[in-house]
């Protein structure tokens, strides 16, 4: 037998924990994945390697990874190596990935898309996970749609297939999945590293927000032909367009590879504010040709861009989700083509935010301390007046507000106030709400 069968028991090497194989769930290039349960009834995933010449290397790799704790809750990290009483070879266990996690591609193809807040949450979560991995000096090596799964409702992320993770210095394992691979990996001038992970992450984020590949535009499409004498092998094309001479579809100085007329990227790109598009421009211009931590976009940069993007989201009067673009005052709505009506904005030390339902004021807005988790206030629709908003104090200190034309008031913890032009004092920090 090559693989355990349903009903078999495998044993964790370190703890002798017995796992019963319940079902076979997937077969991939490296082996077969099963669902198993331990004696406590907990689901676990068991990956059993196919016999191959790299088996010893794979064993060492899993042994190495199980000696680390998982860097971030999003990783379905290897727990332990498992053996079978009679089958040669080995497998390993990892946390069972719930069915709510699916491939991002599956989500992107659906007619009804997750809302922008969820897309942004997915982006933030991914960046936090990779930041945690990279700050340990480890690189993932194989970012692609099969490995980074998302919950399109909650915005959670699950990163699977962690068996290729290693330190930058260990020059082993795979190079990656081609369309996510950094140009320097494709031309073979470099090995997988944190820097190449950053490129793959940017490709993934481009898909998440723009629905396409950052390098696949008219120039690449023109090379796809089955005419006699014109054709080049896929390998030649790939090496050229993704490796040797890559060109971003929105390169500011070369428009020859813009998205094809029927590409969804055309529509999505226009929706986002200029500052956010600028991050992708950096990732795929300097970040494309000069592989270094300085030239590529790091997780910290992505994270603050994503939080800022979240701060600029609101609803057009037609009902469409739109972003306030402070660089283009009269930007038209992607749905109704109207220019937006006035929206309340809030000027805080970290920048300018649009007040819309779901907006959360965090410590970072006031103190610029990168604490995005602690909520100080949150915006909700007005319970009685359609179109109006209220701002709830979710902190534990009172706010002192000075609404225009009214006297000074206090908003106690838990209380709500109607959003209107005013000054708000958060202890010593003064902010302003304006109507634009």
């Amino acid at each position: 037998m090559l693989y355990p069968s349903v009903g078999d028991e495998v044993k964790m090497r370190r703890t002798d924990t017995v796992i019963k194989i319940e079902s076979r769930v997937a077969e991939g290039g490296q082996g077969v994945v099963f669902r198993g349960v331990d004696s406590g009834g907990h689901d676990l995933a068991v990956k059993w390697y196919r016999k191959n010449k790299y088996l010893e290397r794979q064993y060492n790799q899993i042994e190495y990874l199980t000696s680390y704790s998982r860097p971030h809750p999003s990783f379905a990290w290897p727990i332990d190596i498992v053996n079978h009483p009679t089958i040669v070879g080995f497998g390993y266990t990892m946390e069972w990935v719930e069915a709510r996690f699916v491939s991002l591609v599956e989500v992107l193809k659906k007619k009804v898309q997750p809302n922008f807040r969820t897309l942004i949450l997915i982006g933030i979560e991914l960046n936090e996970a990779f930041s945690a991995l990279h700050s340990r000096g480890l690189c993932y090596r194989d970012i692609n749609f099969g490995n980074l799964l998302v919950d399109p409702y909650r915005g959670d992320v699950s990163i699977v297939d962690n068996d290729n993770i290693g330190s930058e210095s260990s020059r082993q394992g795979i190079k990656g999945t081609l369309r996510f691979m950094a140009p320097e990996l494709i031309v073979g001038s470099s090995a997988p590293s944190i820097v190449t992970d950053l490129y793959s992450l940017a490709v993934f984020l481009f898909y998440l927000f723009m629905h396409g590949h950052p390098l696949e535009g008219q120039k690449v499409n023109a090379s796809y032909t089955w005419d006699k004498g014109q054709e080049q092998s896929e390998t030649v094309k790939v090496t050229h367009f993704f490796g040797r001479d890559p060109l971003f579809v929105y390169d500011p100085s070369d428009a020859s590879n813009r998205p094809e007329y029927d590409s969804p990227v055309l529509r999505w790109w226009d929706i986002y504010p200029e500052f956010f598009k600028g991050v992708f421009v950096k990732a795929f211009t300097t970040g494309l040709k000069e592989p270094s931590l300085m030239k590529r976009v790091t997780e910290t940069q992505w994270r603050s861009a994503l939080y800022q993007l979240n701060d600029q989201l609101f609803s057009c009067s037609c009902g469409a989700a739109v972003f306030k673009d402070f660089d283009i005052p009269n930007k038209r709505c992607w749905n109704c083509s109207g220019t937006s009506l006035s929206v309340p904005i809030m000027e805080v030390p970290s920048g300018t935010c649009v007040l819309s339902p779901g907006f959360k004021l965090t410590r970072h807005h006031l103190f610029k301390d990168f604490d995005y988790k602690d909520s100080i206030g949150s915006v909700e629709p007005h319970p009685n007046i359609t179109g109006e908003l209220v701002f709830r104090n979710t902190s534990n200190i009172s706010w002192i507000i000075e609404p225009v034309g009214e006297g000074v008031k206090e908003v106690k913890p838990g209380q709500r106030m109607q959003v209107r032009p005013m000054k708000i004092h958060f202890d010593k920090i003064a902010t302003t709400i304006l109507n634009t």
Partner: protein, 237 residues
């Protein structure tokens, strides 16, 4: 953060078509042991694998066409069917039917000629399933010449499944025309679905741009070809 219930733009990503041609033997011998039923079953059972694969990747949208062959070759599915809509009408054997494999290959060659084949599509996949050898040897030779004279034919992923001992592997190897990729042999009807699944998995891996066909073969096709030999690996010699 999910309280803004506003309208979102519709989904979708741009993909390239992947044309998948099934060339299925319906000669008289396909009646033996219920081979033809087993083949119909196998095709129905690989469809979900292909649908899943399509769902999970961003590059390809799969379209299926099928050619059946016996005394002659004919389109079983002529207009490309998106895999998720595939409605496989079971094939039946032709009583005392011959094996016009050459004619089938010529038909597929015609369909992927530059005039007819979609320019932006990925390299096509041609899967040949037979339990015999071509009875139209001259046509077979012409068919191969035509196929390999075409850019899409040369680039195509060509796989073959041989059913039973009667299948002549040397013809199939000439069709595959790649020493690294062996013919998948289904020793008996039970194995048809197994081999077709291995072929499907190999196809999905090979279709990814930049994939290494040799590596895919080592990982997927060779274990499937050698599964009997490998099963005895525990034996102490």
């Amino acid at each position: 953060m999910n309280d803004l219930n506003s309208l979102m733009p519709g989904g979708g990503i741009s993909r390239r078509s992947l044309h998948f041609f099934i060339l299925a033997d319906c000669s008289g011998s396909m009646k033996v042991d219920g081979r033809i039923q087993s083949l119909n079953y196998a095709i129905a059972s690989i469809a979900p694998t292909l649908i899943n694969w399509e769902k999970e990747q961003e590059q390809a949208q799969i379209f299926v066409r099928a050619i059946a062959f016996a005394d002659q070759a004919w389109w079983h599915i002529e207009s490309p069917q998106p895999i998720e809509l595939l409605n496989w009408v079971p094939l039946t054997h032709v009583e005392k039917g011959l094996t016009s494999m050459g004619a089938a290959i010529r038909m597929v060659a015609d369909a992927i000629s530059p005039e007819k084949f979609e320019p932006r599509s990925l390299r096509p996949v041609i899967l040949l399933i037979t339990d015999g050898k071509p009875t139209d040897v001259e046509e077979f030779e012409i068919g191969l010449r035509e196929l390999f004279s075409l850019p899409a034919g040369k680039a195509a992923i060509r796989l073959a499944v041989a059913i039973g001992q009667g299948a002549n592997v040397s013809y199939l190897n000439r069709f595959i025309n790649d020493p690294d990729i062996p013919v998948l042999i289904a020793e008996n009807v039970d194995q048809i679905a197994v081999k077709l699944t291995a072929a499907t998995l190999a196809i999905s891996k090979m279709s990814s741009i930049g994939s290494d066909r040799k590596q895919v073969t080592e990982q997927i096709i060779l274990p499937a070809v050698n599964s009997f030999i490998q099963a005895d690996d525990d034996t102490i010699v």
